[in-house]
């Protein structure tokens, strides 16, 4: 028989243990390995002559830290633009679509249900010099020679990722807009405010927490993105996540890769703390 204390233990223990083993422990492991000076077999038993060598390398390589800055900047732009562009879609769905809302919801789900990688790939095929855009324009006779590569640039990475995130960003905003009590808008209308005033004095402030949550949900994963840059970024669209990936899958230097990952983790958490300072999370959750 489980008492109340027993029930609590029965509920709280599994997630605590699970997250300790599969979330906290691996992160601690990565932190520990980032202090190991040597490349070579990784074991719990040997190789624990700790040093700051890897971090010294990070500090001595300004281009790595600069790339982290660039990646954060890119993630900021991507998250901001995706959130802003997703807003009208969600707004339309919540306030204008009415009876047809379920159909529009399906339409919105189509892109998010398509494989992430293939949507990235679709842009590569669209933008390439033999791609669909160029071959289509040549076929209808508008151009003779393919227009120069739109692919393989920072801009290609940013455009592709914005595209990939928009449908995903629209859903939480849609949920936030749905929760807005229509009587607030009616009250504002009764008090004589026009549609625009209602929009930016009532709708936007009330959906703001949802917008912030959406921004963060796009921003964090984008900082660590490494798949899209490989496919459409070329040499100029590389992101910080690619460096980490390189040291693990290409250069086989796990201690240095770990140090770079720890630096990214630290900076990301710092940004989250700052964001929480600026926006009261309790309002977002409530």
């Amino acid at each position: 028989m489980l008492g109340r204390r027993g029930s609590l233990r029965f509920l709280a223990a599994p997630p605590f243990v699970w997250l300790t083993l599969l979330f906290i422990l691996p992160l601690l492991m990565a932190i520990a390995i980032s202090f190991r000076p040597h490349v070579g077999p990784i074991s719990f038993v040997t190789g624990w002559d700790l040093s700051l060598l890897q971090y010294k390398k990070v500090v001595d390589s300004p281009s790595w830290l600069r790339l982290l800055g660039i990646s954060i900047g890119m993630a900021f732009v991507i998250a901001a633009v995706a959130t802003v562009l997703a807003f009208p879609i969600a707004y339309f769905l919540a306030f204008r679509a009415r009876a047809r809302a379920p159909i529009f919801l399906v339409l919105l789900l189509v892109p998010s249900a398509t494989s992430f990688l293939l949507r990235v790939m679709a842009w590569k095929l669209l933008l390439g010099s033999n791609g669909a855009i160029n071959s289509f324009l040549i076929w209808i006779g508008l151009i003779r020679e393919p227009i120069g590569l739109l692919l393989y640039s920072q801009a290609a990475v940013i455009i592709t990722l914005i595209y990939v995130w928009i449908p995903f960003a629209a859903l939480p905003i849609y949920a936030a807009l749905q929760r807005i009590d229509r009587s607030h808008l009616e009250a504002a209308a009764d008090l004589g405010s026009g549609p625009w005033t209602r929009f930016y004095r009532v709708t936007v402030p009330l959906s703001f927490p949802g917008l912030v949550a959406t921004f963060v949900m796009v921003f964090i994963p984008t900082i660590g993105e490494y798949v899209t840059p490989v496919l459409v970024g070329g040499t100029k669209g590389i992101m910080y996540g690619n460096l980490i990936q390189d040291f693990f899958t290409r250069a086989g230097n796990w201690p240095l890769g770990s140090a770079l990952a720890v630096v990214m983790l630290g900076v990301t958490l710092l940004l989250v703390v700052v964001a929480l300072r600026i926006v009261d999370l309790r309002r977002v959750v409530a």
Partner: protein
């Protein structure tokens, strides 16, 4: 009843014991090969497949020599691993490789001595050479004026936006060492700093760095987007065959690079004899010639190479130039310190 019960128990015990014995004896007929992607194609080990149809061969993939080494260090269960010249010493030093018992190989006498020697460390035959080829510059003769005669074409701003370098630090160091006439095995810190600066300056000239010869290099050579590329001869032969672009494969004055792919047998393997058989069969005529005719990579069976009569392949392997190997440079062994310094240098170049 007790007697019957005892019999039943004895039967059960016997059954359990035989199950354990069976499990232990029936050494699973399985081989795991740590490979570069593309080599898993059954045509490249067809002789083994035919001779041992009940053996399940599976593959794990690495994307660079450093990656293959790291995967072995990380406790890969692979019985066999595949890497290239330059990386022989590490596996021996770290006790990860078993010696090749050449007396059990039926195809060993078909391997040229110079290749056998590349598979030796400390005087012992640790590796079996299999594929080989060149590294040089593949270029589009429509877009490039005149002949390319030096490795420095890869760093020439004339071809801005249409160059593609392989995404690999040690390869970049090798190219720079050739250009400057430096000894690859004795690159100083100052020289490495200069190499880093030069490749940083070269970075914007690339369309992109390529990672797989047939994946993201060749399609864009065929489409005409890449004019000048660091290339093994595989893409060169491909484009010669399909005629999509007019191309040439340079003979730089510093010499081409040559490489040999080596197979090692893991010291952890429980199937040494099976692994050895797999490697021996890879040297057999059909498997080897499939590598030559389908993948356009050379093979260590010299009878197979001597029988090549396809003009494209003769051109691709420069088989019409008997002195070609004399003016190419084999990749010398790298040390752990060089390996780390060079991959870190490349990472700084990429992030520039």
């Amino acid at each position: 009843m007790p007697a019957q019960f005892r019999t039943a128990r004895r039967c059960l015990a016997l059954l359990a014991a035989s199950a354990i014995v069976l499990a232990a004896c029936a050494a699973p007929n399985k081989l795991l090969v740590l490979e570069w992607s593309g080599y898993e194609k059954p045509d490249f080990w067809t002789d083994f497949k035919t001779a041992s149809p009940d053996t399940a061969v599976s593959f794990e993939f690495g994307i660079s020599d450093a990656d293959i080494l790291a995967k072995m260090e990380g406790g890969s269960q692979a019985d066999i691993f595949h890497f290239y010249t330059g990386w022989q010493q590490f596996y021996v030093d770290e006790g990860m490789v078993k010696e090749i018992d050449t007396s059990k190989l039926t195809n060993w006498d078909k391997v040229p001595d110079s290749f056998k020697k590349l598979g030796q460390v400390n005087g012992k035959q640790y590796y079996l050479p299999w594929d080989w080829g060149f590294t040089s510059i593949l270029y589009n003769t429509d877009k490039v004026q005149g002949e390319i005669t030096s490795w420095d074409a890869l760093l020439d701003p004339k071809y801005a936006g249409h160059i593609s370098m392989w995404d690999d630090g040690p390869a970049a160091v090798t190219v720079s060492a050739y250009i400057h006439g430096w000894d690859e095995t004795k690159i100083t810190d100052d020289q490495l700093a200069q190499i880093e600066a030069e490749w940083k300056a070269q970075k914007p000239l690339n369309l992109h760095y390529w990672t797989g010869e047939y994946d993201d290099l060749c399609p864009e050579v065929e489409s005409g987007d890449i004019w000048v590329a660091y290339d093994w001869q595989g893409c060169y032969a491909t484009v010669l065959y399909d005629g999509s672009q007019p191309v040439a494969y340079a003979n730089p004055k510093e010499g081409r690079n040559s490489w040999v792919g080596l197979y090692g047998i893991s010291s952890k393997t429980a199937n040494y004899d099976l692994a050895l058989k797999f490697l021996d069969d890879k040297l057999a005529t059909l498997s080897c010639s499939n590598a030559v005719t389908q993948f356009y990579y050379g093979c260590a069976n010299q009878d197979v190479m001597a029988a090549v009569d396809d003009p494209v392949l003769i051109k691709a392997f420069s088989l019409d130039d008997p002195s070609i190997l004399e003016h190419t440079n084999f990749t010398p062994p790298v040390t752990a310190a060089q390996r780390d310094a060079w991959t870190e240098m490349w990472s700084r170049v990429k992030s520039e």
